[in-house]
């Protein structure tokens, strides 16, 4: 293992310093940003309780993200076999679930339909896409 190096990332939510050890690989990128494979998940007091998922490959997409259970405590989306395989799950991992926050006019929404899931033990992630889900892509942040 090499020595982790520091990486300064500039996002529209601020400038942060992260470790290269904190890079999460998305083998297929994220839909709409397929060419960006490496992301870092930034936690900072200035973002709390949100996090910033920031792509470090061009075009360096940046997302404000939130544990979907903060928006909907009962939230649960099952993982299919393909996603479990792509996350390298063995069954004991505690996964990080992220819902993408987006602002639509006055409304602040989270995408509960296509959550991003990260396996921190392998530092790999996927965005889950299911056709038949009751969750909305534009769930109001305070709309419970």
């Amino acid at each position: 293992m090499g020595t982790p190096a520091e990486l300064e990332i500039v996002t529209r939510f601020g400038t942060f310093t992260v470790d290269t050890d904190d890079i999460v690989m998305f083998a297929h990128g994220l839909p709409g940003f397929e060419q960006c494979r490496r992301f870092v998940l930034v936690s900072a007091p200035s973002l709390d309780p949100f996090t910033c998922l920031h792509g470090i490959d061009a075009p360096e997409p940046s997302f404000l993200t939130l544990d979907p259970r903060r928006a909907l405590p009962s939230y649960h989306t099952p993982l299919g076999d393909g996603d479990r395989h792509r996350l390298g799950l063995t069954g004991t991992e505690t996964l990080l679930w992220l819902a993408v926050v987006h602002i639509d006019g006055e409304a602040a929404c989270v995408n509960l339909k296509a959550p991003i899931v990260i396996n921190p033990e392998r530092m790999v992630g996927v965005q889950v896409m299911v056709a038949d889900t009751a969750y909305a892509a534009d769930h109001l942040l305070d709309g419970s």
Partner: protein, 83 residues
């Protein structure tokens, strides 16, 4: 675009290990079975496109006020520890 005529129970093979088989045909729809390795994600086009549009819109939006957003979340109870 390659175009094939396939009947029920016939298939096409794509690359190494991907098969698309016609399971059932109807007036306006066909039912397809896709066999692919786990590292090849398979999605319905419209579902994938909707996630693309949502991601691109979320990434392009100006930075919202974190304090304002966090205030909206206070309406919810604190999060229980992860099971």
């Amino acid at each position: 675009m390659l175009v094939f005529t396939r009947r029920r129970d016939e298939a096409i093979v794509i690359g190494d290990g991907i098969e698309v088989r016609v399971l059932r045909t109807g007036k306006d729809a066909v039912r397809l079975g896709v066999t692919a390795p786990y590292d090849v994600p398979v999605h319905r086009r419209e579902v994938y496109d909707a996630v693309c549009a949502a991601n691109q819109s979320a990434a392009a939006a100006p930075a919202p006020s974190i304090v304002y957003l966090a205030g909206r979340l206070r309406l919810h109870p604190p999060l229980e520890p992860v099971d």
